[in-house]
Amino acid sequence: MKNILSLKRKNECVMNHFRTNKILQVRYYNNRIVVPLICFLLFALSHNSVAQSQKQFSRQAFNMLTLLENNHYSEKKIDQKLSESSWTNFFNYLDPYHVIFLAKDLENFAVYKTNMAENAKNQQGNFLEDITKLYKIRLEETDSLISVICSKPILLYEKDTLVYSSDNSKIFPVSQKEQKRTWEKLIKNRALMFLNISDNRYTKSRMDSLLKCEPAVREKTEKYEKRIIQRILNKPAGYENYLALLYMNSFATCFDPHTYFFTSNEKRNFEDEISTETFSFGFDLDETPEMDIKISRLVPGGPAWNSNLLKQGDVILKLRWNNNKSIDLTGASLEEVSHMLKESSNDKLTLTVRKANGISEEVTLTKAKITAEENLVKGVILKGEKKIGYISLPGFYTEWDNPNEPGCANDVAKEIIKLQADTIEGLILDIRSNGGGSMTEALNLAGIFIDEGPLCLYQQRGQKPIIMKDMNRGTVYNGPLIVMVNSLSASASELISATLQDYHRALIVGNPTFGKASGQIILPNDTSVNVSQNRVPNGNPESGYVVTTTFKFYRVTGSSHQLSGVIPDVSLPDLYRANDEREIMEKTSLPKDSVIKKVFYNPLPPLPVKQLSINSKKRCDNNAALKQTSSLLDSLDFYYKKDTIILDLVSYINVKKNINRILKEIEKSDRSDNKTFSVLNSKQNNEIYKLDEYSREVNEQFTESLKSDMLLEETYGIMNDLINYYKLK
């Protein structure tokens, strides 16, 4: 049996754009283990964007609920409680900020609240059909409402406040008048965000010139907001299919946060995230100073490169999926365009680009399999007082179409061998923000550092826990080892951190990890699936797939890091501020528990954790840049965590200027190189970079980020102490 952990993709929310993004907000992975018990039908599945019938959706929901009832770890029943949660989930997916539906809509649909799941299980009722129609009407009304609001000047000076809650507790508007009022605030907020506010002191004349931009900003805002609506109505896979997907997931996520439904094409996207190769168009994006979206890099040998029609610097004006409507990207942010490209599982994309000579051209690209450079293991030498090896592992990737082929653990081993050729004295393995991936790879990776013995306990629904081991005896690296983690290190990352910690093999440094100790398998959406009896049919791609939590894993001690996360041996200041994203914050997380099982394992002598922590704390206390960044982040939190935004130009300018100042200071300290170590490439990698410009550029960015990584700098100090400890022993 092959065990695979995998990445989570959250259900898309409609209105997820109200807040400014935090600068240090790291890409969110929320991952899960997947054990592919079945033959994968990867990359051979054709995309079906034709809207399915309500009957088919009803059948899919029935299949999924039967499958989950029979196989999900939690053994939940399809009952009234599940119906109520699903009903609430569904409305929150459709309208997370409660600005599309009216209170009376919910009253009309309240009849389904107590029996939504049971009806789906019995294939009864027209809930999905009815709400699909109504939601479309409401979206179209909202679209018109935006036009109406944006047809008049936005009164930027007028005092107003926008209150919203992040936990969906805000009530729905009772009247269209109230709804319009909310939208006026939302549009004003967006318009204020689009205003180009500098750090200058705002004299009256400056304020006047700012106000002169109001019509242009209003137009940009209108396009922006309407684009969000139109993106839902013109989903690449079809509007009805999109709603059905949310409907299915409103049930699935009641079982636990890592269980969900997806289509065959989404399955491919999902697998791409933890592969070394991914289906892609082969270009990277960046923002120009004029806020246009340009092509920053073409991946050699990728579709964009091979087209010979796109060049670095081309500005993207529009995009179109297959034969759908074109999407105008005027005013779109880099984040928004990246999201659009990522969310679609369509293989054909037509871009309208503006070339350097000002001429617009249309280019059609078809996705192809290319190396995902950003997913790969990277190794460098940190040269300071000592020569330390550093390896960054962004995900536990594997070859999905051939899971028996060596994956990321093999790449880590190769990097270690390259680094050992440079006689490193210690090794730092960085799995910060690594959301997991293949469980087999996690076990193989632990095996690099642990000779032999149990690595974790694995428990399926209703079964006794069993011991999981490394496939190979022996080690590749025996020297001092530090593992860097943060609150976004999840799943497989937590497995390896916990194991190395229990064996006293590595010092774990950073912040408490994500807190997910459950695993998932991708099952075809079929009622005859029975994981406990190993009966998994070949799936019909049109029925979709269900990522299902079927097991939990425990430390060799029998305890679990579920919810709590792995607690590092040495704590570092939290510069990620992603605690809101942790497993413990999810309503349907599985509980933390433990198992009793006699496990024979031989830990190494304990590491001097206390002394290393004291030394680190002293260094952190004396590190002015680190302290300043922490305090700047606290200040940013003060602004970002406010539930009330003051919506008048003067107040907004003040807040924006403060935020800009903080961000600039953070950026400044973020850009200043450390004086503790320099970053060197191994000889082998240097030879690759001589010829491979793309890899070289990616690597340059990577090494630059390491030079200014304050937490890495401190970890380097901890490693120095650890090496000295080993020498004295």
Binding site: K414, R473, Q684
Partner: protein, 345 residues
């Protein structure tokens, strides 16, 4: 390679009986003694066929005969009544026969917690050996109990037990000694041999992680094996097994510590070349600089050299390994042939 672990079980203790007067007790005991002799004769046939290079078909036939004779004994003794209402001796013999049957048929799960065995073992072979070891320990306990009961029974019924010294007993005793030595040497050899198989598998998958881990373990096992062979030395002056095994272990040690030490470099060199080739191929001929071409050519040369080194080391290792393993097999067969008496039957 002769990888059969000989059956070392079964009664070396004797049922030879001498009684002042032939009474019911000695008759009772003799029934068991006769059954035991039948089993021993079959065991000897089996041992001899293995030791003297009989065909696999014949060896298997003999093994089945041993099992059948144990089953016959179980049937016959199972039907016997307790002696003077005391079933302890009979039951101890039955218990011993039952466990013997389990060990012979390798049906270990009946007496060993196989789940615990699997969890404590690294692989299937280690689990098999551990299960066999644990089963044999149970057999030892049953045997001791049976010998004890036999003595008590004899004492209670005025029977004098005597050590049997017929040809069969002498042959069995000698064979047992030889087999004991052979098994110890074989296990030392086998540990490294099996480890080398894992290394080869890793090489065939180009799995550098597994190659490096298994290479390190092969070095450890072969070093440990050599040091264990120093304590085993010869069998009554016969150093043939010891010499062949040491040669094999030295080969494994050199293979893991010297010959294949840089094996991983080949795979790293290959990966580097593959990346460079993609970058090189993606440039049009006109846009390639002299430096690009030079770098590409350097990478080609480096890979060619690494391939040539890899192939020549591999060829030499394969040749040497084949010779040594053939030698080990021949020596092992000759050793058994020479030291285990021939079946004169």
């Amino acid at each position: 390679m002769k990888n059969i672990l000989f059956i070392t079980l079964l009664l070396l203790c004797t049922f030879g009986v001498y009684s002042q007067d032939a009474n019911k007790a000695s008759e009772y005991m003799s029934i068991m003694g006769n059954k035991h002799t039948e089993i021993m004769e079959n065991v000897w046939d089996y041992t001899s066929s293995v030791a003297h290079g009989k065909s696999a078909r014949k060896v298997e036939k003999r093994r089945k005969e041993v099992i059948k004779s144990v089953e016959d004994a179980q049937k016959t003794i199972g039907k016997m009544d307790p002696f003077n209402n005391d079933a302890s001796f009979r039951d101890s013999v039955l218990s011993y026969l039952n466990i013997s049957h389990i060990v012979l048929t390798e049906n270990y799960s009946k007496i060993v917690d196989m789940e615990a065995v699997a969890e404590q073992s690294y692989d299937d072979m280690e689990a098999y050996l551990l299960a066999q070891k644990l089963a044999n320990e149970k057999l030892d306990v049953a045997e001791n109990m049976m010998v004890q009961e036999q003595k008590s029974f004899a004492a209670a019924n005025n029977i004098k037990l005597i050590e049997s010294n017929d040809q069969l007993s002498r042959n069995m005793k000698k064979a047992s000694e030889v087999i004991n030595y052979y098994n110890k040497v074989y296990l030392i050899f086998f540990k490294s041999n099996k480890q080398e198989v894992y290394l080869m598998e890793a090489m065939s998958k180009s799995d550098v992680n597994a190659i490096e881990q298994n290479r390190g373990v092969l070095s450890k096992f072969s070093t440990e094996g050599l040091s264990m062979m120093d304590t085993l030395k010869s069998y009554h002056g016969d150093i043939s097994m010891s010499t062949a095994t040491k040669q094999m272990l030295k080969f494994y040690k050199e293979e893991s510590e010297v010959k294949l030490k840089t094996l991983a470099n080949y795979f790293i060199e290959k990966e580097k070349f593959d990346k460079i080739k993609v970058a090189f191929d993606s440039k049009s001929q006109s846009s390639r600089t002299k430096s690009d071409v030079d770098n590409f050519n350097n990478a080609v040369n480096a890979l060619n050299k690494a391939s040539a080194d890899y192939n020549s080391i591999n060829d030499a290792l394969n040749k040497n390994r084949t010779e040594l393993i053939n030698n080990w097999n021949n020596v092992a067969q000759a050793f058994l042939d020479k030291n285990i008496p021939k079946n004169k039957k």
